[in-house]
Symmetry: none
Subunit: 339 residues, 2 copies
RNA sequence: UGACACCCGAUGCC
DNA sequence: GGCATCGGGTGTCA
């Protein structure tokens, strides 16, 4: 998740500056080893607590909406932070949210001291206090740039989720909704579907891939599932998402599938013709990967064609501020953490 | 990891010699994903456990005094062994060795099914069963041609050793021997050297080629240089790397050169005999390219032979998880960037 | 026809 | 930095 990574980096930079010197000094004095001690305090995650490795911390925070964690060089500090915030975060909802849409770093703060730190030195900062996190998120989406939106990570969920149940009467909300509708509006009866795949630790041993299909807000066909099978790769996840999209839509309905995977789209729209001609050999003579999924999709496309329905693909840039892509991404990410 | 190396060599020989089979093999691997599973159990190392790649295994055992590790094709076996249990080593420590000195491909097999496959269709095959690998090696050296001996790769070391240290049949010793064979912690007789060539924009106008030679970590003879001359091609870079390796090693030392360039190895081990006979004409009557480099290498090899030293070549798959190949690759890439 | 390299490019997933 | 994947291409030989 680039967005998460960005946010993580921002937090680390932000919080790391305050007490780094003192901590290092202390540690250097008492320890002979040169390596810096690390403690990852997870205050909001699957299992809040203190972890010693980044891997464990990641496991506790990956895909967790609103995950909150921080690195310390002192165990006691980490414990205190995790414990202290834990109480506040888990039961008491903060009463104030400071949205910093333009600043360094952008994000949502619950403490004015931190928020003011983030806008200090920024020319033309944009920030505002809200009483709900959702409003703060929406403010950042409306007034911040793409990076600021991306930095929200899973929090964008709040804005998407509430779309249907919110009376969008402010200017910002209205225009945002209009933009979304514009993106999704299509000539007549073509169903727009967003697909995405995710694969944590892609290419490594414990990779877990997830599939996301998004038809629209609150649509019952929206899908979030774990990729089946032993090959947990990003490509298989992306292809499978497209497969599911075709399966979920009515057989006789034309669809337009939005995917950020150029690989997947080209597999089923251009490359497959050459592959068939060469007996599923790649241009370099190697056997085509993920042939099973490609063939399934081709079958589904042929079926639709017979029904008189069209299947269109549109590539969308990943991690742009495309709401549909973000929604599908979120579904895929959540699917990856399923059993 | 003796089994791994042996297996890889067998596959390489297989693919290199019989094109039809090689293609099928590839296809099969691709389709039903029956590729041999590998698990590296580390019983004594920095972090004991089971690892999936040789690179990870190396990381856990490198520099660890008394490191103890072993390769398995079954995860459960690997886990059991890592946990200290004695695993019935059926396929990991073979009790029989089938030497195929004349066949297609030649080599040492531990399974009669494979061995019989290698001699099927070959007129006048030469093969024999042994109870030690060393005997099998000696048989091939005695009854096979040069190519067959070369195909033995590092296993020729077994024959170079004195008869006294035979029967290295326990798991521990097999492991240790594997390390000697494959990670080139040589037994003093043969210096293992990795070579590689790089050529950015190969075949285009502004191509820049580099040469890499790797003797070992921190070895002062490691070389990274820009390819000299106006012809900046990958092939010249690969050949030059071999040339440099021979120049850098002591004149009277036997060496084993690991290269991923089948072209280079065949140039100096098989094709050159025909070229000499035809007056350096290719089989199609064209003049042989890179003759200057090939002749230089042949001269260096002849010189070593006169000194009583052996020069052996072993092909290694490029971009695989071979640490030596990766190291040489980096040196070559670096060299290509030089002035 | 085959084989092994050496690249150039593209999009994701980390 | 790496993997997942594909498309173009040259360097060279049998």
């Amino acid at each position: 998740m680039p967005a998460m990574a960005r946010k993580r980096r921002a937090e680390a930079a932000h919080e790391g500056s305050s007490s780094a010197d003192a901590g290092q000094d202390t540690k250097k004095r008492k320890t002979d080893k040169t390596e810096e001690a690390k403690f990852y305090a997870v205050r909001a995650g699957h299992v809040p607590g203190v972890y010693k490795t980044w891997a464990e911390c990641t496991k506790q925070t990956w895909g967790f909406k609103g995950a909150h964690y921080k690195k310390f060089s002192s165990l006691s500090d980490a414990k205190a932070w995790a414990a202290g915030k834990h109480v506040a975060a888990s039961k008491d909802t903060p009463s104030k949210y400071y949205a910093v849409a333009v600043g360094e770093p952008t994000g949502i703060y619950t403490d004015w001291a931190e928020a003011s730190e983030a806008i200090k030195g920024t020319k033309g900062p944009k920030y505002k206090k809200f009483f709900t996190k959702q409003e703060a998120v929406e403010y950042i989406i409306a007034h911040g740039n793409k990076a600021a939106t991306d930095a929200l990570g899973a929090d964008v969920n709040l804005a998407l989720k509430s779309e249907s149940e919110t009376n969008a009467n402010t200017e910002e909300e209205t225009s945002a909704q209009a933009k979304r509708d514009d993106t999704l509006t299509h000539n007549g009866d073509v169903i727009p579907i967003y697909t995405d795949g995710a694969s944590s630790s892609n290419g490594k041993v414990g990779a877990r891939a997830g599939v996301g299909v998004w038809f629209g807000n609150g649509d019952e066909r929206n899908l979030s599932e774990r990729l089946q099978g032993p090959l947990q790769t990003n490509q298989r996840a992306e292809l499978t998402a497209i497969q599911r999209a075709l399966e979920l839509a009515p057989r006789d309905a034309s669809v337009q599938i939005f995917s950020d995977s150029a690989y997947s789209i080209k597999c089923v729209t251009e490359w497959s013709v050459g592959w068939k001609a060469r007996g599923w050999q790649t241009s370099k003579g190697e056997s085509v990967k993920n042939r099973d999924l490609v063939e399934k999709i081709l079958d589904l496309m042929a079926d639709k064609r017979e029904m008189g329905a069209l299947v269109m693909f549109k590539w969308v840039k990943g991690h742009a501020s495309d709401p549909g892509n973000i929604a599908a991404d979120r579904l895929a990410t959540q699917g990856a953490k399923m059993a």
